[in-house]
């Protein structure tokens, strides 16, 4: 037992959890913590808007596999975090958000900068805490990390009343903690493994759908082993992009609304579908009744509530994806020999050959997003990490920026948060200073959190933003073109802002490029200079993202 203040206990507990960085911005109700933080070994990265702090923490978490931490004051500071917390919740990212709160006696009195952040974040967190005594802090932090990082990861909020931060108490830092209502089921049931083995060994056209769970569980190699043993092609969901190398002969790329033709067409031929760490979101499956209606489906997920939630499942397996894939592989390799090819793998190759280059690409112009992204891929090393914004830029990145390693493609999937990519890139760079980090951006999205340029520059965290600048809220404009008779409503952004001047105003370097060659030069400059860079790439304003499955339609109704 040691006597110390709540704030000291918080920082000490974070330190014991190996936290080396906190993204945040102070205010009245969190000042005692900031006072202690000043003298601690933990690095603090000052943001210019708390939403970005949460996105940075998430970028950090998704690049490193560790827990990301962000911090804000009560009231507006806390509510500014909300979008970032919701984003982490939808994408199952382990972050911890620490918020200041008014003193205990003022809670519930509508005090200055009081917000019921526990009430607000209950539906968008895995759990949240409001310790009422300083002595609860060490154990609260321990629980928060355990909950955020294990099972299906997710965000956790710790809301600290100001007088709990200053209260002095005897502190006991537990090494381990039991949470009696929280026991994630890690190990798959042997009977289910047996059933899955049975189905897969008999399958003629096995198909693997890999989701974000494969990345979270660090199970890419296990996935590849199973795919190669079964000669089963792999499509990933958008969140699963990177879980399987997209240059592998069995890779079909990303499935779903803006997935590849190969993935969306060939999955319909499958007789057994092995779905791994995916929740069958509407963006991945299209109209669910028309999604592989005749295939037998095996679903592996750590979250029992995801198994069978959106689609009836023939063999449900609850367990950690990595552990389950290892056991499944062991079981399969007793029954199957590894082969070079099969009728099915040849059919897949045939589909790929047939459909490759079927999607129209603007041939008149050079600076079109498809070509820009292919060029960027060739220039970046294989372990460079890209984030994206939301909209057409994101879907072009998904289609044309091929990814070969897990945790090298980080994007807002479930919530689709414009403004995520740039702060997330900063968080990524903090976790991985050794690799180049690029945000593939849209002009609209980047404008939402461009103030993070201040953080990137003044904290010396160099990342590069490539703006696919169509002077439009492009994705909305695309829908208006396709489904609203070309009636544009509130989508034209004009040539505003001047991104080069914007970058320069923050002390970053900015380039406006007018040809592919200039683009390449700018990328080279960014890679060599190690300073924050904004590359403004004007693209045709009315380019569509294809293929596309209109919302609510089945995979068959893909247009391209």
């Amino acid at each position: 037992m040691v006597k110390m203040s709540g704030s000291h206990a918080l920082i000490e507990a974070l330190y014991k959890e190996k936290v080396d960085v906190i993204f945040g911005l102070p205010g009245g109700a969190i000042m005692p913590v900031y006072d202690v933080l000043r003298d601690s070994k933990i690095r603090h990265i000052l943001v210019r808007h708390e939403q970005s702090a949460a996105h940075m923490a998430e970028g950090y978490a998704r690049a490193s596999g560790k827990v990301g931490v962000c911090m804000a004051t009560s009231g507006p500071g806390a509510t500014n975090l909300v979008t970032g917390i919701a984003n982490a919740y939808m994408d199952s990212s382990p972050i911890i958000a620490i918020t200041g709160q008014v003193p205990r006696a003022m809670i519930g009195k509508d005090a200055f900068q009081e917000t019921d952040i526990i009430g607000i974040t209950t539906p968008i967190t895995k759990y949240n805490f409001q310790p009422r005594h300083a002595s609860e802090i060490p154990e609260t932090v321990k629980m928060a990390f355990q909950i955020a990082s294990t099972g299906r990861p997710g965000p956790v909020v710790i809301d600290l009343p100001k007088d709990v931060q200053t209260e002095v108490a005897d502190m006991d830092f537990p090494e381990k903690i039991e949470i009696r209502g929280y026991k994630p089921n890690i190990s798959p049931h042997p009977l289910q493994i047996e059933k899955a083995t049975e189905l897969l060994t008999k399958a003629e056209r096995p198909f693997i759908l890999a989701g974000g769970g494969v990345i979270i569980s660090n199970a890419s190699q296990n996935l590849q082993a199973i795919s190669e043993l079964l000669l089963a092609p792999v499509a990933t969901t958008f969140m699963g992009k990177g879980s399987f190398p997209e240059n592998h002969p069995l890779s079909l790329g990303v499935i779903g609304m803006h997935g590849t033709l190969e993935a969306n067409k060939s999955i319909l031929e499958a007789d057994v579908l092995l779905a791994v760490g995916t929740r069958f979101s509407d963006r991945s499956t299209g109209k669910i009744d028309e999604f592989c209606p005749d295939a037998k489906i095996i679903q592996i997920d750590i979250d029992p509530s995801e198994v069978g939630k959106n689609r009836a499942i023939d063999v449900p397996i609850v367990g950690d994806v990595g552990k389950t894939l290892i056991e499944l592989h062991n079981s399969l390799s007793k029954r199957l020999e590894k082969k070079e090819s099969s009728l099915w793998s040849k059919r897949i190759q045939q589909i790929k050959d047939e459909l490759r280059d079927k999607v129209r690409i603007n041939q008149e112009k050079d600076l079109v997003p498809q070509k820009v992204l292919k060029e960027l891929r060739e220039m970046l090393p294989i372990d460079a990490i890209v984030t994206t914004e939301v909209g057409q830029n994101q879907m072009w990145a998904s289609l044309y920026f091929k990814v070969y390693k897990p945790r090298t493609f980080i994007s807002s999937g479930g919530l689709g948060t414009m403004g995520f990519g740039f702060p997330a890139a900063i968080g990524v760079k903090v976790a991985r200073p050794d690799v180049p980090v690029f945000d593939i951006a849209g002009d609209g999205s980047f404008t939402m959190t461009a103030n993070s340029l201040a953080t990137s520059v003044s904290e010396n965290i160099p990342v590069t933003v490539v703006i696919l600048n169509n002077s439009m809220l492009g994705m909305v404009a695309q829908w208006q073109r396709l489904f609203y008779n070309r009636r544009y409503s509130a989508v034209e952004l004009g040539e505003c802002p001047n991104f080069v001047k914007l970058a320069e105003a923050f002390g970053a370097q900015g380039f406006r490029v007018d040809s592919i060659d200039e683009f390449k030069k700018a990328v080279k400059q960014a890679l060599e200079s190690h300073v924050t860079t904004v590359i403004d790439v004007p693209i045709p304003p009315e380019e569509n993202v294809f293929p596309m499955i209109p919302a609510g339609k089945g995979l068959r109704e893909i247009i391209y």
Binding site: I118, G119, T122, P123, K126, Y127, I147, I179, R180, G181, Y182, D303, P304, S305, G308, K309
Partner: protein
């Protein structure tokens, strides 16, 4: 898809006895659009644990999803879907009845006796009755009571324990 059969389910849970647990549960029901019929929370033999009993009318997949979602709540420690065959189910209702005349008064007293209920308050023109039993029994009493005129009803929702 075939239409699944809807039934009444009683789900009994053991939860952490601390503030906010009911909020977390009811918030989840709202968010996931579960239409709960009743929910009751009360202490158990242990100070740190409470029992939360939920009743819902739905088909099997809905109830299965509800149980899984409850299981995800960190404050929920144990969940069982009760089998009505070996479960004691009780609900308590307070019913304020209109009393028109002496005849009505004695009829009410008679019915209350048949239902093993109790008269808990009497005033001019009205009586308050307490009925305990299964929800069916309370419903049956309420059907009778409408003939007198019901002024107000308060029902606790179901609480239940497995036999043996």
């Amino acid at each position: 898809m075939e239409k699944k059969e809807e039934k009444n389910y009683i789900i009994s849970t053991i939860v952490e006895n601390k503030p906010g647990v009911l909020y977390r549960a009811s918030n989840m029901f709202r968010k996931r659009a579960f239409n709960i019929d009743s929910i009751s929370v009360g202490p158990t033999e242990r100070k740190d644990l409470a029992r939360m009993t939920i009743t819902i009318n739905g088909d099997e997949p809905i109830v299965e999803q509800l149980v899984k979602q409850l299981g995800k709540l960190i404050d929920v420690i144990k969940i069982s879907v009760l089998n009505p065959q070996n479960t004691v189910i009780r609900e308590l209702a307070l019913i304020k009845l209109h009393v028109a005349d002496a005849k009505a008064r004695s009829d009410i007293i008679n019915f209350v006796n048949i239902f093993r209920g109790r008269i808990v308050d009497v005033s001019i023109g009205s009586m308050m009755v307490e009925i305990t039993g299964t929800p069916d029994k309370i419903d049956a009493f309420l059907t009778l009571a409408t003939t007198f005129g019901i002024k107000e009803i308060a029902r606790t929702g179901i609480t239940a324990l497995v036999r043996g």
